[in-house]
């Protein structure tokens, strides 16, 4: 399967700029991608999940995972106070231990971006905001673009957009492509993360097509989920997306990041993802600029495991913030 994939990528190298010329060329390119072996992908993800990571390797993985966290709060009940508390936690996740690294980014709704920008000033922590009528994306394009521009103007340097799943599932790929291009333009210098919402795409073939579509349209990151539908990030879905970014770099030379989001709650889960990254895309992706976790409760579990390694006794949730 991999050989076929690489062959496709190589033949595509010359005409990748041309694939979005028309609906027909885009469709034939996306449908020409090799199909995903569902059983094989699930088996490989399950097999890699059994790897045992211990002692110093575990300590390294936990610190890396903390540096990869996009500390997220996306609730209707979010207040400026909660966002400030989250920003403080992002700067120093474990106040009891100065050696604990800061997280990669804080992710909030556009209305709270000014609060977060103020709280994060000078910290070097990125500020991500979901835009484009998150989580459904079911708003007119003009509204979604205005949403994006407002978030960037307020200080967000990373934008998490949702793709138009309705158009994608109906087969109107060019519409999805052009919308991503338009949002990318509205982002300016801000990084664009494209949320595929894999739980609504149903098949791995669709995940692979949506990944390529988003990368062709200029995504800096491809992200699994909004966290607002029942099925969020899974290991096999992330495996398919990691294969896509690897093959895309082989074809074009551009390196796109991956962000699984939703449902990753324990340090053990996070380490499984890191193993998957290393074995699928390679070490180049083991960096916060190339791989992120969209999560909220994950950070506390990482901190508990970190404390356990440092102190030698099991820690408890009482010693970390409620957020």
């Amino acid at each position: 399967m991999l050989a076929r994939m690489t062959a496709t990528a190589a033949s595509a190298r010359s005409d990748l700029t041309e694939v979005a010329r028309s609906e027909a060329t885009l469709r034939s390119f996306l449908h020409g991608l090799p199909g995903v072996d569902q059983v094989g992908a699930e088996q490989r993800a399950a097999m890699l999940a059994t790897r045992s990571i211990k002692t110093t390797a575990k300590a390294w993985a936990i610190d890396l995972a903390i540096r990869m966290v996009d500390l997220t709060t996306l609730e209707g009940a979010d207040t400026p106070g909660k966002v400030r508390a989250l920003a403080a936690k992002a700067r120093r996740p474990d106040p009891a231990d100065p050696s604990c690294p800061a997280v990669a980014a804080v992710c909030v709704y556009p209305r709270l971006v000014p609060v977060a920008a103020e709280a994060l000033r000078g910290s070097g922590i990125h500020l991500a905001s979901v835009a484009t009528a998150f989580p459904s994306g079911q708003a007119p394009l003009e509204v979604r673009l205005a949403d994006t521009r407002a978030a960037v103007a307020a200080g967000a340097d990373e934008i998490d957009m949702v793709i138009n799943r309705g158009a994608f599932l109906a087969g109107r790929y060019l519409e999805v492509f052009e919308e991503i291009v338009a949002v990318k333009a509205a982002c300016g210098d801000a990084h664009l993360k494209v949320i595929l919402e894999t739980g609504e795409l149903v098949t791995y073939d669709n995940v692979r097509r949506a990944s390529w579509l988003a990368m062709l349209a200029g995504a800096d990151f491809i992200k699994t989920s909004t966290g607002k539908v029942p099925v969020a990030a899974t290991l096999p879905v992330t495996l398919v997306m990691l294969e896509a970014v690897r093959d895309f770099r082989d074809a074009t030379g551009r390196q796109v990041g991956v962000k699984p989001a939703g449902g990753i709650r324990t340090a053990k889960d996070a380490i499984r993802y890191l193993v998957l990254v290393n074995e699928t895309a390679g070490e180049d992706w083991l960096h916060p600029d190339r791989f992120r976790f969209g999560a909220s409760s994950l950070l506390n579990d990482l901190l508990m495991q970190r404390t356990r390694l440092r102190t030698g006794v099991y820690s408890g949730p009482d010693y970390f913030t409620l957020d």
Partner: protein
């Protein structure tokens, strides 16, 4: 016709209302059967289950807790023969059931005995009420296997605590059978967690665990080991019940000490007459 082959029972751990094998996959032989040998990660899982059960169990009404414990006694009564078959003397089984019922009766009475309306010089109702401590780690005594276990578990949970019990290495079979009783009563999963194996190996992890609120060292016979556990327990200021100084008559009236050891008093000032 060929002779029937009896189905052999696997004695497993009791964590969160389920019967998992040890995470480590280890077991050890007792009375010609294999019993799970718990590891530190089983301790971790058990504490997690016990913590998750605290809110529901301590939040249940005292009357409800009492009813659940009476139900456990009913189930115990039905399994008398099974305990006797494991070598527990009949007199001990009877005493254990009676002990359980006695503690069950205290569920909705302990607050009346240990709670108080305090006279204060001001326009306030001043009330003190006993409240459960939270997650209690218990090192159970080896002898008597069933009565000893019942005598440390029942008084701790009747007031609303949840427990992680390290069963004595030599006496795991009655403990696992007791777990089967608890699982078929209405006791919520996680209120009682029983780990078979070697307390000498697992107790330090339980004593040092920062999410455990109290420690009952009744089953620790070596004073040096008890002191070591007490030092580990000091990490988060656990309440510690020290091992008994001399031999204990488990058949005597147990008194209320084992219940009050894991209670803390909450005092409320409530304005009146305004």
């Amino acid at each position: 016709m060929s002779e029937r082959v009896a189905v052999r029972k696997t004695y497993k751990l009791f964590i969160g209302g389920k019967f998992p094998r040890s995470e480590s996959g280890r077991s050890y032989p007792v009375q010609n059967t294999n019993v799970s040998l718990a590891s530190r990660k089983d301790v971790r899982d058990a504490v997690q289950a016990a913590r998750a059960a605290v809110a529901g169990w301590s939040g249940a009404t005292a009357y409800n807790r009492g009813q659940v414990l009476y139900r456990v006694a009913e189930m115990l009564e039905g399994r008398r023969d099974q305990f006797v078959g494991l070598g527990v003397p009949t007199v001990e089984v009877d005493e254990a059931i009676d002990r359980w019922v006695w503690y069950a009766g205290w569920a909705d009475k302990i607050a009346q005995v240990y709670g108080n309306a305090n006279p204060v010089a001001g326009p306030y109702f001043n009330l003190s009420a006993p409240e459960p401590t939270g997650v209690v780690g218990v090192v159970a005594p080896a002898e008597p296997a069933l009565l000893g276990l019942v005598s440390v578990v029942a008084p701790t949970i009747v007031t609303g605590n949840t427990v992680v019990v390290l069963v004595a290495e030599t006496a795991p079979l009655p403990a696992v059978t007791l777990a089967e009783v608890l699982a078929t009563s209405d006791l919520p999963g996680g209120v009682v967690n029983l780990l078979t194996g070697r307390p000498a190996e697992t107790a330090p992890w339980l004593a040092g665990h920062m999410d455990v609120n109290a420690l009952d060292l009744t089953g620790v016979t070596d004073p040096g080991f008890a002191a070591e556990l007490e030092r580990a327990a000091a990490g988060n200021l656990k309440r510690v019940l020290r091992p008994p100084a001399g031999p204990v008559d488990w058949y005597a009236d147990p008194g209320l000490g084992r219940m009050t050891a894991f209670l803390e008093t909450k005092t409320v000032w409530h304005p009146k007459g305004i």
